[in-house]
Symmetry: C2
Subunit: 190 residues, 2 copies
Amino acid sequence: MKAKIRAIGVDDAPFSFSDENVLVIGSLVRAPNYLEGVLSTEVSIDGTDGTGKLIEMIRDSRFYDQAKVIFIDGAALGGFNMIDLERLHKKTGIPAISITRDEPDFDSIKSALKAHFTDWKEKFEIVSKGEVLTVDTPHKPIFVKIEGLESEEAERIIDLFTVRGRLPEPLRISHIIASGVVRGESKGKP
Amino acid sequence: MKAKIRAIGVDDAPFSFSDENVLVIGSLVRAPNYLEGVLSTEVSIDGTDGTGKLIEMIRDSRFYDQAKVIFIDGAALGGFNMIDLERLHKKTGIPAISITRDEPDFDSIKSALKAHFTDWKEKFEIVSKGEVLTVDTPHKPIFVKIEGLESEEAERIIDLFTVRGRLPEPLRISHIIASGVVRGESKGKP
């Protein structure tokens, strides 16, 4: 795979629980950090439309053929609107990598889902699918799930897109954009 | 001035004339193209609040001390909401550079303003202040106005922030963000 690889990084904006929907940003970045395009959509907070909205946002875009990988910040957008990485990969044909900086604790997630959602089983099934891999970075490790590519290739791609800190640029950039647009000013991520 | 210089690039989003306000994005970029923050505000279409809104957006930001220059795309935001570069510089204390890719034709601007605005004199006074300089780039020239720095320094800073094409990265990035957020997908600028 060439170094001119492009990725879409997806993150959601801050929201309050009185909101119905939350802004979601997808940044198309050429490695390591050249921003070539921005996509946006909205997903319902704690809803179930996140995966479908992402598939639509990416497939309808003129950047669809260019993105060789999709990065997702965490396991869900807009609270507990779980992203089904396998479905996202299958419906777009693009390998997908979700990244969290804290190791997922599935017992706590299950309890939280049970306490708040009648559809907790469906939500938990999506979030607990697939294997969580630990990827070392020059800083602390990150925790990833991957669909559509081997773990070595995923690690190579994460490394290609990482400039500073632990987050690949497409995720770092989408975080800054989403937060800056909704709050008027972006807040840093470590 | 060191190469680690940071700039805020300001551009507005696309709008239709039925809108009252338009989204304005300010990207804080470390040379040449590392995005460190995003600011946002709204200005009224064809209104007079643009300069004040920019001053407020920048002064209220935690990036205020970091930006060594402000780039503005063109002479106005939101249609004919003219940006007073001199006032922007004086009130922020930050040198300001406006950039257009077509040479401004002040006769045409005057006619357009006269035809549409009762306050055309005020708008024309702002837009016709200052000297338009032609700056060569590896591509076609660009046309700039500067406040608070010498033309040689301005050219050096523009060059520091230009990666591809004719636009400095802080402007190119703000254009992509503003357009992607409002349209759902950014459109390219040459």
